[in-house]
Symmetry: D2
Subunit: 401 residues, 4 copies
């Protein structure tokens, strides 16, 4: 008789959380913090339902992991109770290192990737829980012989991806992005020490890759979403620039200390307890609260960005398959100059690229288990030719108002 | 050729927003503020998906209103373009007066109901839009002869209720609370100047009333939700009490001015522009941001509540059909006294009642249009006996930890 | 490693069928016959999607049974592998005795209830499978000490009911009839030897009872459905009457032998192998094929009914809470007489009653397991007063054409 | 005030049927016949929910047509009431010429394509309805200047396809096959006289093509479905062969006359009223009823196929990307010969090919309306390289039992 807590998840129906280590980790303030970090940053400015959090995503990925474990065991894969628990912990915590607004501010507030921060969180928790996370950490770092366990956490068909594509399409309402997560999971198997997909899952994989591609261009790289997120990045950069120039920029304490520093991973680790304290207190609320207060700041750029973000007066953003012509960029620059102070130019012209490849053959290919027992890379099995990496150029600027 | 903007709503699929006044109102900062006010306060502490906002709800209710108008017109109801637009504006703005955490803090931060504040917002917007909202305001206040227009905005079967029950059950994942909003809307008609339901909709109404009841006890009055929300109320009350006692309580400016005042509706109206400025800047972010900063406050009660709210260490809450026995309350009080400073007692013992009546015959009954053309109140048509008002007593306190 | 077959069920997603006895029973021609018997008879004349079969329903109920077993075991209920298998067999075969058009023709073609026929099928299969069904039969007949196993097959909250309400609302598109089968199953428990529902499931039960009621009046007893089904009954009765009068009535062999006989249960059992052979060959196709051929029959009544059923020219049917006044019936009768031959009257006037009680306290009440450990009947727990048995009178006749 | 009938469709919710010509056509016995013709033949032997009919599909396509008309009109396309009605009639009747088991028996019972038969039905109805279908027939035959109207009925993105892909994925439960019909319809527009898709619909189209491909291999060409359908074809062929050889083969009259003939389109038209009378009476019930009676036929091949089809003892079928080696085929043939009479061989060895191309550039490309106003064929817009035509070889035979 296993004790467990039942959660309502609009995506999966009922989700069971077993009591024990997993439950205790969820109750921990480090994990509860994820309730205050939106999964897809400012995407809700385009898709108003997309307010779901990293907390919900992590629980969803945990739920799918328990299904995957059951499927693999039913097919004869050898997964001990200890391994099942460890891989569940690894998926639960795989994103715990995300900071406010997830990927958007990932390299702006702190020069440490969210994966490295996740590892730092896990190590710290491992000390607090007397080593109970050691195996989970080995799996997370791909240092465990049964590679398929790591692949369930991080790989082409990991439970992270299964959940976020499913969840993001659900909450945005972009139902065309729905993937057949349940079917794909049912088709998973283990060959050697690797995660493979049974041959009959071929069309599900094809559909999965297209749905993922669709989600990229329709949601994650939607022009208005990119505009809003780039504006958020610039706002934070301006705040840091002002701080560096000695201007006072009020902000909640947890945020303020990151505006005043420029940490690398080794800086962070050297004074881990102190910095983790700040970081574990930092969330979307600090950032939004600061931006709201900056609507009355003396600095034009900071004030303008803040006011625009809060009231959703977003820049116009254009995508192009080719670099924008020099002349076009000059013209836009000229228009900005005509209306805004000189210092605004470098912030007000959003230029860059976004790229997406739904699938590459370069590394980490999906492995198909053929009916004859052979294992082949996806690219040799499909007759669906995959697009090469697609890169698009963007140019954003204040609309003529 | 009507220009319109198409939004993805996970609940209804595509939602059309016509350009023109409605679109301009949605773009207004007053309305955009609703993006930062959660529809169901701290319900997400129990149902993690329930992060949807008043913004999304208002758009959803607008969407249903356009369906209702079409249905009623198809049945011959006389609704001019101007009336259709006005009733749409009225439903769009019906909740614009909600403050942070909606109902939870409704009487805590300011002594003005959200309905009165909605009216103040509308009047102010009416000035800004040169009287374009005048008819909408008359309908909102039930001062327009075609009563059914008001009933579509506020009544037993209004579009507000249709949307919030649908939306709340969707985002909580409590699918048992789903109502047949589309069928009910298809069954609406007008008799005299009143909104009625065709007789064949009888079972849909029955089901609607039960679903609503279920949502109350399973979601809105879930014991953990009530615990969290009562703790939030006490936190704000403590902050105000401290301010009154001269203790410094840091908070974002928009919040701070409400902690330092105790406004009535007439106070508010007397200096409307000033107060509306503060109120229109106030949202969930200010409250959460303040609470986060109070986790390090000197005052034990404020600090303890703040830390518990942020880390979700909620009080235990019990419901009972009868008042709790004196002896039981004394025993709980004794336990609190043993562990916490004396000043904490009045805050740490949560006592009160919650009640729900899915339906009453006292006022504003659902009217059924019988096949023979007569209009009868619901209570005379159904053989489903309605429960009288149900009241439950609750008692909440810190768990033995 | 359990071998199993995976089926796509639009209702539940993936359904697992374990290989072994259950799989072999499904493959048996007796069970395959259920593919040719619609679950809800002529309901598709009103709800065109409702073409699902007894076959699909039986698999769905089997699926829910496996969920219920898992839930009960997780709560400590003692269910051996043998018992789990037997109760699964019992639910799989609980409806195997249904004849063409399920309930509609239940007492018309043969005077044996479908439950008794199910038992006869099970006994025959038990012989074929060397006694492997003995325990299933005991459970089916409520002759096994662990009463809750029988209650899972046949009781207020059995898996039959859970599936058919869910499935019928799905395929009709009457989504208001959807019940929270998954939540109800999660709330099941065993107290003593009885099936009970945990107290917190109270609103789910309430909702379940209302949804069931709604399905009765909106689907099962929809006036056009009743008209079509009563016409089907009269058609078969006329065919039998003609046969008895010596008129030749062509029909497929399996059907013909039932038109020429009037079997009781004991008749059937006396020559079981012969009659079961005919009955196991009989399905919707025989009945429809006969009716199609009767569109050219010499007999007016048979021809008229057949033509009307095939081309969906259905009688008009009225429901009333009170018996129809003598004068009204006379008037209708007069109109029929004016247009149709005298022999048609007794067939063309459809009179009768339909009744429904979503719940009675008379027998077999739902048992609630209260938090304090007591077991109470539902009627003492709810504050939702249940409607008494509701009976409606119907009157059907050819529309003025 | 438009009178209309409301239908529950589990796929789309409520579907409105306007009274008038469309309603009268639906009531006509020709159209009611479609209630007795399954949309996807024997697919339900693999996906038990797939029992939906051509009747339901035609209503669904009609529903989508009304949405498409509204979208196009809102974008300024000139569609008169008469044209709207005609294109609706055309889509309603586009499949009315389908015979029993739709495509499966299309060239077996009669040498006339279902499109030609649909036209014959429409012409006959046009006579009955005094020319009211003339414009619909012109559109159906692509003889009307506004080409986009024909393209809505028959083209790469017609409402036929939108509905059948949606409906078939719904009732099979293969949710990965779901297409974004609502989004695609919202993206439709008219340029010149052609149907085009707005540029922003690019990913929806991509997804649509993949979903369609997936449906082909996972559903329509599922190996067990192909086996069952090929067995059905062989059964009918054997019946016809026996008839030609003078053997008596009992069957319902409507079917019998087609077993005894071998009609071409011109034969059919020469004696249209007579043949249409038979054909309009022919449906799945006749075929299944005949097969059931043939389970006791003297001829081994007919009996064996019939018994296997009814009891679902299907042949094993293998797919291969290359032709099966001569040696393998010989070996299978040898095994059949060893067990079955010589006359069975040509029937018992199922050999053939199935092919699918989700999209070709050869004819009738999807046209994209770019933001700059140009119209480009899909193949020039996408970076998703399309697979060429995919052909697979199949080999089917009785399993070793």
């Amino acid at each position: 008789m296993k004790k467990q807590k039942i959660l309502n998840d609009p995506v999966y129906g009922f989700v069971n959380i077993p009591y024990g280590l997993l439950f205790d980790l969820i109750e921990h303030p480090y994990f509860q913090r994820l309730r205050r970090i939106k999964q897809v940053s400012l995407t809700h400015y385009v898709y108003p339902g997309a307010l779901h959090t990293r907390f919900h995503h992590a629980l969803g990925a945990l739920h799918l992991m328990s299904q995957a474990i059951e499927v693999l065991r039913n097919k004869g894969a050898d997964i001990s109770e200890e391994e099942a628990n460890a891989v569940s912990v690894a998926i639960l915590l795989h994103d715990i290192g995300h900071g406010p607004f997830s990927h958007t501010l990932e390299n702006t507030l702190i020069n440490v990737s969210h994966e490295e921060l996740s590892l730092i969180f896990m190590e710290t928790l491992n000390e607090q829980f007397d080593g109970a996370l050691s195996l989970a950490i080995r799996i997370f770092q791909d240092q465990y012989p049964k590679k398929f366990l790591h692949q369930l956490v991080s790989g082409q068909l990991d439970m992270d991806r299964m959940d976020y594509l499913t969840r993001d399409s659900f909450f945005t309402g972009v139902y065309e992005g729905v993937i057949g997560y349940d079917r794909i999971i049912k088709m998973l198997s283990v060959a050697g020490d690797e995660l493979v997909v049974e041959e009959k899952g071929i069309y599900s994989i094809e559909k999965f890759l297209v749905a993922r591609r669709l989600m990229y261009w329709q949601v994650y790289l939607h022009k208005t979403v990119v505009a809003a997120e780039q504006m958020l990045v610039r706002t934070m950069q301006r705040a840091k620039d002002l701080v560096r120039a000695g201007v006072e920029v009020p902000a909640p304490e947890n945020l303020s200390c990151f505006l005043h520093s420029n940490l690398s991973g080794s800086d962070f680790r050297q004074r881990r307890d102190e910095w983790l304290g700040y970081f574990a207190g930092l969330d979307d609320y600090d950032v939004m609260s600061a931006i709201k207060s900056w609507m009355r700041h003396d600095d034009f750029v900071l004030r303008e960005f803040s006011e625009r973000l809060i009231n959703r007066r977003l820049f116009k953003l254009e995508f192009s398959n080719d670099p924008f012509p020099e002349s076009y960029v000059s013209e836009i620059t000229r228009q900005i100059k005509a209306k805004y102070p000189a210092e605004a130019i470098p912030y007000f012209l959003l230029m860059g690229t976004e790229s997406n490849s739904a699938y590459t053959t370069f590394k980490d290919e999906i492995k198909m288990l053929m009916k004859n027992g052979r294992v082949l890379p996806w690219s040799q099995v499909t007759d669906q030719v995959q697009p090469a990496l697609v890169t698009k150029y963007y140019l954003g600027y204040p609309k003529g108002e």
